[in-house]
């Protein structure tokens, strides 16, 4: 294994896009402001200059149109990376993603496949208020035909896109804008990652924190704080939200006998509901305590910082909840 390098989450994402463009001329990136603007979040900055307008395509505001065009281009043998600026706008492209990308293979009896990768900026925490702070990962995780990935670490920021581009099926990639400037370490030769399995990000024996996305670093931080107080919690990063890989978290629960699921999305009908019910079905007799969930408060996210902070689980909330669970 090569030396570790330090880079931001943004740099990791960008280097993967760049590598993909260099490696395969069928790959192109399309999305609002990916080119001349440099990417709404500067992820694709400079790529237009390097690869030209045929590979880095600015598109008009027309989410349904250009996402569908990406799906069509994939049908016809290209390898499009479609960027939907943020998940909030993905509702406008839902019909294309769910009714077309997710169904075409099945509906045609396997004649066609849709190798498109759709990236979206996600997450809350930048005071963007109700219409710009949605966490709609649960919707995508509901729909068969899609592969749904959540980029919770620098390793995955570097590797998930590269792996996604090898899938013959449509992949949804959630990237978290609040993490873009965060620095982290990955091996210098880091590349593709396994996109079928969840991953234990920290071993522990007292309780399993199961999470994804921005929850990963939050849970790791909470675990460190808890360790100082003698509590040894395991952190499971789900990573693959569809098809949800359950063995990893079931084994974790079989070891720790206690689980708390942490998620920014609203609680009802969420990823954590699914994880909790899988544990109910498949690890019930392992449990020392009922599984608990710490999720987003069910409110359209308000603008002011103090209310926004109160809307999603913070590190301290995780710590307190774990303590309550471990020392009832």
């Amino acid at each position: 294994m090569s030396q570790e390098i330090r880079l931001t989450y943004r740099e990791a994402l960008k280097s993967a896009i760049r590598e993909a463009l260099l490696k395969d001329e069928k790959v192109f990136l399309m999305g609002e402001d990916v080119g001349h603007y440099g990417g709404a979040f500067a992820v694709s900055k400079g790529l237009l200059q390097e690869f030209g307008p045929d590979r880095i395509m600015d598109v008009p505001l027309s989410e349904s149109g250009f996402t569908g065009a990406g799906i069509g281009a994939a049908l016809a043998g290209m390898r499009p990376i479609v960027e939907i600026m943020t998940i909030n706008f993905s509702l406008l492209a839902m019909d294309q993603i769910f009714n077309n990308a997710a169904t075409l293979s099945h509906m045609s009896g396997g004649q066609v496949n849709v190798p498109v990768v759709i990236r979206m900026g996600c997450g809350i925490g930048r005071q963007l208020a109700a219409q710009h702070s949605h966490s709609w990962e649960p919707f995508f995780a509901h729909v068969p035909g899609l592969i749904v990935l959540s980029v919770g670490t620098h390793e995955d920021a570097r590797g998930m896109l590269l792996s996604a581009l090898e899938s013959p099926d449509p992949v949804i990639l959630f990237e978290y804008t609040s993490m873009l400037n965060l620095e982290g370490s990955i091996p210098g030769d880091a590349g593709k990652v396994d996109i079928q399995k969840a991953k234990i990000r920290r071993e522990g024996k007292d309780l399993s924190l199961i999470t994804y996305g921005t929850g990963v670093y939050k849970c790791l931080e909470a675990a460190d704080l808890l360790a100082k107080e003698g509590m040894d919690v395991e952190v499971v990063d789900l990573r693959v939200l569809r098809p949800l890989e359950e063995d990893t978290f079931l084994q974790s629960v079989a070891k720790t006998h206690r689980a708390l699921i942490v998620e920014d999305a609203w609680k009802s009908v969420s990823i954590s509901s699914e994880v909790s019910s899988r544990i109910m079905e498949k690890a019930f007799f392992e449990l020392d305590l009922p599984v608990e969930r710490l999720c987003g408060v069910e409110v359209p996210i308000p603008y002011p910082k103090h209310l926004e902070d109160a809307s999603v689980p913070q590190v301290q909330d995780i710590v307190s909840r774990v303590k309550k669970m471990l020392k009832p």
Binding site: S62, I71, S105, V112, D169
Partner: protein, 333 residues
Amino acid sequence: MRLNKSNPAPSLTKAEGLRLLHQMTLIRRFEEKSAEVYTETKIRGFLHLCVGEEAVAVGVSQALQEEDYVLSTYREHGHALARGVEPKSIMAEMYGRLEGCSRGRGGSMHLFDSSKNFFGGNAIVGGHLPLSVGMALASKKQGKKNVTCCFFGEGAAAEGEFHESLNLAALWQIPVLFLCENNLYAMGTALKFTHSEQHLEKKGPAYGIETDVANGMDLLDVMTKVQKAVAYIRETGKPYFLVCYTYRFRAHSMFDAELYREKSEVEEWKKKDPIPQFKAFLLKEKLITEKVIEAMEAEAERQVQEAIDFAENGSWEKVEELDRFVYSEKAAI
């Protein structure tokens, strides 16, 4: 078929005339038979017939080549047949049999045949327009010279996807033919309740897209206009919008009581039926004889019966295979 320069109508050979009449007749008979077996509950779900609109399907297909892509709606039997998808495999599909073109999983609304570059059979109104834009974009990127032909109804033109797709196609200058079959109704909603500007051909110029109109009840007019459109697309690589005025003689689907239009209106349109019209033209021009017509009709009849027999004898996908094709069985690429 050659385009006669001084006269815009194409001049036909006898063989061509017969082939075209045969195609329209086959579609008509195929659909009438489908309706029949539908009432016997052999076909289920939605069944949308294009009876009356055959000249569009057949006329458009003449200008297309093998490597061109075709996308259509749920009212696509005619387009599929004209494209050369086997009647047998379409009928088997509607029967839900494994031998159907989509393995029986799609049914009437989702005919797919990638060997014919026929990409559905799409049942969300307007939902395939963005797909067609993407396919044409791929052709451009790949340096292919093929055209993507996207059929849709005038009702679909009210959806936001129409607007976004035409804009994208024009911005990107890609070779797509937007083929609007304006049959005056979207289910039971008449054109005047669907579009504030009922002359849909006025919409193309608002995107800077070359636009024309054809009489969809007249095979020769459709052929002429499509020929022109496709020639333009192949030459310039740019999109084209063609509106064919037509009419469906039958109900929207098998569930439609047709409360929204007068019987007399339907009767008026039936007088413009493209099949007898074209037949008369061929007879007048001495390009065909009654005897040849008779033989051709018998052949169409035979093909339809063959399709039915094939479908009847088809097999069922095993229930254990239910969840195949949710994810592609193609190797990772």
